[in-house]
Assembly symmetry: C2
Homo-oligomer: 83 residues x 2
């Protein structure tokens, strides 16, 4: 399954609690799209969030965020994990 | 120990082999700086590389790349891993 890293470049007003809540919703919704939100990292100061996702395609990854909480990423990049 | 995600936005001409070689050098050098390069992901098409790093500070993370192969990141962001 392809691997993606998404980037939210201006997640305005994010807090740790809001992100945890949003991520929980991703986990609830993702099954429907055959997607797995694996991990995420964030920087409150610069309002950025990075999600690592296994998904059949970009559209499926985006659909999960859209349905779960509406905060879609600014970019979704197909990546390979290095060895 | 702080966690960082670095972004190489234009890793020109990268190949999987070159990245594996560079990463191996990071692993050799990092001990000296008390740094751990944990994982990395890349996209050959857009010449981007993302490294996840545990380091005492940004400067130490950068010093490892500089000494190991000279390909320093364009940006190093302190991040928190989400739950």
């Amino acid at each position: 399954m392809p691997l993606y890293l998404d980037i939210h470049t201006k997640a305005e007003g994010i807090t740790q609690e809001a992100l945890e809540e949003a991520h929980k919703k991703d986990l609830e919704v993702q099954v429907k799209y055959n997607v797995r939100y694996l991990k995420y990292w964030y920087d409150i100061a610069t309002e950025r969030v990075f999600c690592l996702i296994e998904a059949p395609n970009k559209e499926a990854a985006e659909a999960v965020h859209r349905e779960a909480h509406g905060m879609v990423a600014d970019e979704i990049i197909e990546v390979t994990e290095g060895r």
